[in-house]
Amino acid sequence: MLSDTPAKRRRPTRLAFRAKFTLAVRNVLRHRGRAFTTLGAVAFGVATLILSQGFVEDIFVQLGEAIIHSQTGHIQLAHEGYFVHGAHKPDGYLVADPEGDKARIATMPEVEDVMARLGFPGLLSNGRADLPILGEGIEPAKEEKLGSFVKISSGRRLKAEDHFHALLGDGVAKSLRLKTGDRAVLMVSTKDGATNTLDVEVVGTFQSFSKEYDNRAVKLPLTAAQELMNTKTANTLVVSLKQTADTRKVANTLTERNVWRDQEVKMWDQINDFYPKTVALYGKQFGGLRMVILLMVLLSVVNAVNTGVFERTAEFGTARALGNRRRNILEIILIENSLLGLLGVAAGVGIGVGLAKAISYVGIPMPPPPNSDLPYVALVRVSWNAVITASAIGFAATFLASIFPAVKMARMDIASALRKAI
């Protein structure tokens, strides 16, 4: 006899998790074509998100590095008030013991180098015309290491052995029609009100990422600037770090340590306040673009998931006829799509990171950014943050997209579902 006893017939039936999981795995692994459609959509989406985010992030990072390595360094220390009022009256904000302070800061392990600068407003004359400039005494050897983003457009950089020599911003040289080898006269008024002049030889001209800066800047060796201003001190100590990521940490330590009384510590993005503004503006614009990408990703995932479920209407109708509960159908579909989501995310991260590496290896040539004359090579920067965000979006999209068809399949009319069988 094939029949069971009536007592057994009354027992409820349901699928155990193990069974549902096994079914889902079989569906994913044994129907490659269908699995591939959803998997492909998810993987493509995750990879696209990683790449687009990485491209935008690289723009921000490179802009930051350009600022740091043009002029600013990572952190600057000065007397309190210098950053706001110092440009007009730099001699009111002097660092008392620049050499001692430099040595103290240089002991921090994150610090690459510390250099002193002495800023002063003045006039540069070519003998026929004068131009108001912002002069800056620098330590040539150290600045050369820091200033990797400064492009020498003609002549050469300042050297350690230079003394009565000046490196002019491109704009300054153009305005005064000065070229390498020409002589010019620097005029300043000293702390005690006297006028002082210095005869200098132009060794070259430079371009930084900022045109505005290049229109006003004149660099000369610190020793010459100190002589001109009749002082032994400096205005700012510029700290360059081994890693930009350490900036905040080091800045905090310096603030806590109080290297000298009434010090003020500024990070590079505080000194160049257009950086956060640019990031905010670009961030918004790229954000809009990313929303479009995200929308396309979501649509393709939703479409793939829906197709994958609805084309199996008859299959789920059969399962219901064979006694599967509504809930079991729902669970099978959700588990299956979670698996697809996970696999798709894994593939997408692989593809995205791989492509990012390949693209970075080749590099994307970019035109000069706003307020700059220097073109650069863009890379695709992969951050953990981007990978995690893209993965979360990819998985959530797949899972959420499967809820609607899963509910629909679970609640469908069995007879009409079975009519969908071919």
Partner: protein, 255 residues
């Protein structure tokens, strides 16, 4: 005891703007162990009748009792359990799960029975595949099987839960004549050996000839009731008449 009892069952559904009456006041009862054909042209309501008996479609009115369970007022889950334990399904289109092998397909309805462990399931599946002579094809996927073999797998899947009732919707319609006969002979053999009740819908004269009970249906109403005795059909024509007298016809189907 009657395994299937229908009393004044009607089924209406909406098709576009108008209501279609697929079943119109059907009263029937079948004894356990019959090999019964529901015959009628397409659109006659035979599929709807089979679906109502199979608890995958609910009647608009009337009473349905399957294996002693009155299905009205049951929750979807209760009906699912009833189907899982009492009814086996065989479909015209076979409806095997394409990603599962023959043995996994046969095992499928057993997965929801918590009282069966892996060993029990394996034994039952093996037994059923032997019964339909597909022991050697256990690891084959449906796409690697012929139509007749697929329908045998489907029959094994329908029987593996040891149901009291097997419902087959046009089980031979997608098969060539010879294969269809083989499937019918297999079902007939199982019906004789294990007393499993078979109810199948068909519009094929040869399939009807294999049955021992016949319900002829047209326009949603029962028109013919047939009982075969010693190879000869005893046919009762049922004209449209008052509902109160249909019980007599229902009685005619009893052995």
């Amino acid at each position: 005891m009657s395994i299937v009892v229908l009393e004044h069952v009607s089924k209406e559904y909406r098709l576009g703007d108008h209501m279609v009456r697929a079943l119109d006041d059907v009263t029937l009862s079948f004894e356990s162990g019959v090999f019964l054909a529901i015959a009628g042209p397409s659109g006659s309501g035979k599929s709807t009748l089979l679906n109502v008996i199979g608890c995958i479609d609910m009647p608009s009115s009337g009473r349905v009792v399957i294996a002693g369970h009155d299905i009205s007022g049951q929750t979807p889950d209760q009906l699912a359990s009833l189907r899982a334990r009492t009814i086996g399904f065989v479909f015209q289109t076979f409806n095997l799960f394409p990603v599962l092998t023959a043995e996994e397909n046969v095992e499928y309805p057993l997965l929801q029975m918590e009282e069966l462990d892996k060993q029990d399931r394996r034994e039952r599946v093996k037994e059923m595949l032997e019964l339909v002579q597909l022991g050697k094809f256990a690891k084959h996927r449906p796409s690697q099987l012929s139509g007749g073999q697929r329908q045998r797998v489907a029959i094994a899947r329908a029987l593996v839960t040891r149901p009291e009732l097997v419902l087959a919707d046009e089980p031979t319609a997608n098969l060539d004549h010879k294969t269809g006969e083989g499937i019918l002979a297999l079902m007939r053999d199982i019906n004789r050996r294990y007393k499993t009740t078979f109810i199948f819908s068909t519009h094929d004269k040869k399939v009807i000839d294999a049955a021992d009970r016949l319900v002829g249906i047209e326009d949603g109403t029962v028109r013919i009731l047939g009982v075969r005795k010693e190879g000869q059909w005893a046919i009762t024509n049922v004209a449209r008449r008052a509902a109160s007298t249909t019980d007599t016809e229902a009685a005619a189907l009893k052995r």
